[in-house]
């Protein structure tokens, strides 16, 4: 079939994905893209174990576009996951096409980030990445699990800018 879910999630593969999204959309395996994930052997093991019976492939950013193309052409269904919107923006710039949607799950606080929603912390680079993808026509929706109400990038962006202004 294709890539049935493209998702930013800094926990990559965990309960919300394996128990909830996998019931909502067809999935045979996970395609995980991220230079910082592939080089972490321990994390790789944990992610594979978290996926249970589902297969996991972990790839470098540079391999991303090729892998996404294979996934889109395959008869199987995949969830495409990276832990940062910056990776997705990079993939888009490299010409990758995973469809017109991008789901955003949890993004934890990091140095220099602002907590925008309960489980969403963004920094300026994330902001740029979302802004770029949005302007390229990607429908970005923030939603941890399918039952939750979606928030759009313009809504989240507005909130981020308000918080940023307060901080200054």
């Amino acid at each position: 079939m294709a890539i049935t879910l493209a998702r930013v999630d800094d926990r990559v593969i965990h309960g919300q994905t394996t128990t909830r999204w996998s019931k909502e959309r067809p999935i045979d395996g996970f395609l995980v893209v991220g230079d910082n994930i592939i080089h972490d052997k321990l994390r790789t093991k944990v992610l594979k174990a978290a996926a249970g019976d589902l297969k996991v492939g972990i790839f470098s950013d540079d391999k991303g576009p090729e892998i996404i193309k294979k996934g889109m052409k395959s008869k199987k269904n995949f969830f495409l996951i990276s832990n940062s919107p910056q990776t997705f923006a990079k993939l888009l710039k490299m010409g990758a096409n995973w469809g017109k949607e991008l789901n955003v799950g949890p993004m934890n606080t990091r140095e220099g980030s602002i907590v925008v929603e309960r489980t969403l912390a963004l920094d300026d680079k994330d902001y740029e990445a979302f802004e770029y993808m949005y302007n390229q026509g990607i429908n970005i929706y923030f939603q941890l699990i399918p039952d939750e109400k979606q928030k759009t990038w313009p809504e989240v962006k507005k909130h981020y800018n308000e918080l940023k202004a307060k901080e200054a």
């Binding site: 309960g15 996991v56 492939g57 294979k70």
Partner: protein, 137 residues
């Protein structure tokens, strides 16, 4: 179909909140706790929960032979057509049956799901996972 989770103390409340975090809220899942200072109200509250709806009911209990289980077992014996009871409650069990409600399972089927998922959910962490790529397109 509806589900009632019942336990000694707050486990039932807690596991429902864990369920919600993973799977979202579901008004077909309810809980009932046996409180430490209970002096017989549990039975009454259980009866109320059972009678407030005519739907079939799957009851998940924390431990076989405990008071919540014993009361529920009595209710099952009184009405085996509409009620089933499974003990050994755990989160994989609750997730499996909770998410199965969408497909309107029969009482026999959902009881079977509860038992299987509950058993399958118990495993020992092992360092046998290979870090090799095993994805196939």
């Amino acid at each position: 179909m509806r589900i009632l989770v019942t336990t000694h103390g707050n486990m039932a409340k807690g596991i429902c909140s864990s369920y919600e975090m993973l799977a979202g809220s579901n008004n077909k899942i309810d809980y009932l706790t046996l409180d430490p200072d209970d002096t017989g109200q549990f039975k009454q509250r259980l009866t109320q929960k059972i009678e407030q709806d005519q739907d079939d009911l799957l009851i998940l209990c924390d431990i076989k032979g405990g008071s919540p289980y014993n009361e529920c077992f009595t209710k099952y014996l009184e009405n085996p057509q509409k009620i089933r009871v499974v003990s050994g409650l755990n989160l994989p069990m609750l997730l499996e049956v909770g998410l199965s409600l969408l497909s309107e399972p029969s009482l026999d089927h959902i009881t079977d799901l509860a038992e299987k998922a509950g058993r399958k959910g118990v495993c020992v962490a092992e360092d046998s996972v290979s870090s090799d790529q095993d994805i196939e397109f």
